[in-house]
């Protein structure tokens, strides 16, 4: 197929920018703690969908963008996203044949790992955030995963 020979990076970049915007859209304070890591989900999607298009580079630079936008120590989200993106890439063949439930569980695991790396860097740089709220995001993100993959798949098919 033609599509196989030519790697399309445009949908990748556009979805990443869209997810980055969703990461800073103002929400009511009550909902703010429930905001899933949209960009992380998008990066996982591309790591699994077309790993040869440079999912890991996307992961690193998306992480860097998150660092700048969140105003935390530079490299924190980049490290977490690189590690978890690599893991997602490693597991991609298995994830593709998983049932929806297993996919959600795997993504929950990946997102929790992501939060754990963030948590660890926060602690190591002397800014610990110890509220339980931050462990909610992986749960919401995992629940959102089937919706996101279907949506992205539809956009990608065009």
């Amino acid at each position: 197929m033609m599509r196989e020979t030519r790697i399309r990076r445009m949908p990748m970049a556009l979805s990443a920018v869209g997810a980055l915007a969703l990461a800073v859209v103002p929400l009511p304070a009550v909902l703010d703690a429930f905001r899933p890591d949209f960009l992380v989900l998008v990066v996982f999607y591309w790591c699994i969908e077309s790993p040869r298009a440079g999912g890991l580079s996307l992961a690193f630079f998306s992480g860097l963008a998150l660092d700048v936008i969140h105003g935390v120590v530079l490299g924190q989200h980049a490290l977490a996203l690189t590690l978890m993106g690599a893991w997602a890439t490693h597991l991609r063949l298995r994830i593709r044949v998983f049932s929806v439930l297993s996919q959600c569980l795997t993504v929950f695991l990946l997102l929790t790992g992501y939060q754990f790396v963030l948590f660890w860097v926060d602690g190591a740089t002397g800014n610990p955030v110890t509220t339980f709220g931050r462990w909610l995001a992986p749960l919401i993100g995992a629940l959102l995963w089937p919706v996101l993959t279907n949506l992205m798949g539809k956009i990608h098919e065009r």
Partner: protein, 295 residues
């Protein structure tokens, strides 16, 4: 689940481990350099310019809506507003009459007592951008940056009182850490009796606490807290908050004091960035290098 195309499934990803290790080491190096040294401040300023379009794009629908709402208000509403503002202005002018005299007097008294606390010199107004930074930290993004002369550690006020200080400066934007952030502390004194202490943020928007007052301290609910000006970061005499509750447990040596902040931390849209008068600043010891604003 048809979300993933199967055609790509057999493709091997070459050098995954290598790239993973490479990027991870790069990220770790960034973390260490950003934490320990000041080299990345410039890079971050440049990167924040790159992030600016996204932030503006997110904030603009809200600004557009506000603009729309402003443009369609009726004449009656505008007239009512005008009447109210005129009345407020009259009161304000009446109060202002004595201000000049009082300021001169204050300066004289300060000189007599040889105090070095800061006096405000000039200020710039910045708008809070409608962007969420981090759900678990009390910070806001403001549309004034290094290009407007904003510096790290600068005091930020709103119409009610002390709002926070500048934590990080980009070229076009800056990040303000609120007084209620768990990593923020501000030297204060109780207006009624001059008792000095430190107000520390709690991470909750509408609560500060005074963790360093002994149970025997003369403090009651309703007392006004103002900045003491010690430490040189904040100008003296601006309201920080009022004491909401004092819990004294005889078994403890320190009282548990809750403060309600004076600034509208969750509502203010316009903030004042304040510069201190130079002569006051000169008398202070030179500030430490502020590469890392928070430890």
């Amino acid at each position: 689940m048809v979300a993933f195309r199967s055609t790509d499934a057999s493709g091997r990803v070459t050098g995954l481990l290598f790239r993973c290790v490479l990027y991870s080491l790069l990220a770790l190096a960034l973390i260490i350099v950003d934490k320990r040294y000041a080299h990345l401040v410039k890079i971050r300023q440049v990167l924040s310019v790159a992030a600016y379009p996204v932030q503006v794009a997110v904030a603009s629908p809200f600004q557009g809506w506000n603009w729309f709402r402003d443009s369609v208000t009726t004449r009656d509403v505008l007239r009512a507003d005008k009447a109210r503002l005129e009345a407020e202005l009259r009161v304000a002018q009446f109060r202002l009459q004595r201000y000049e005299a009082l300021e001169a007097e204050t300066q004289r008294l300060r000189a007599l007592r040889d105090r070095t606390e800061g006096v405000t010199d000039r200020f710039v107004i910045g708008d809070v951008m409608n962007v969420d930074l981090d759900a678990f930290r009390e910070r806001v993004l403001v549309d004034k940056g290094a290009g407007d002369g904003i510096y790290v550690g600068q005091a930020v006020l709103d119409s009610g009182g002390v709002f926070g200080q500048v934590a990080r400066v980009g070229q076009l934007t800056s990040e303000v850490i609120l007084v209620s952030d768990a990593a923020h502390a501000i030297p204060v004194q109780i207006n009624r009796n001059g008792l000095r202490t430190i107000a520390v943020g709690t991470g909750e928007t509408n609560r500060l606490k005074l963790p360093y007052l002994p149970t025997s301290a003369d403090v009651t609910a309703g007392d006004l807290l103002v900045t003491s000006g010690l430490g040189g970061g904040f100008p003296a005499g601006y309201p920080v908050g009022t004491i909401a509750e004092v819990k004294r447990d005889p078994a403890q040596s320190l009282a548990d004091v809750d403060v309600k902040p004076a600034a509208a931390l969750d509502r203010s849209k316009e903030l004042l960035f304040v510069w201190l008068k130079p002569q006051a600043a000169e008398l202070l010891p030179p500030p430490k290098p502020v590469a890392v604003p928070k430890k």
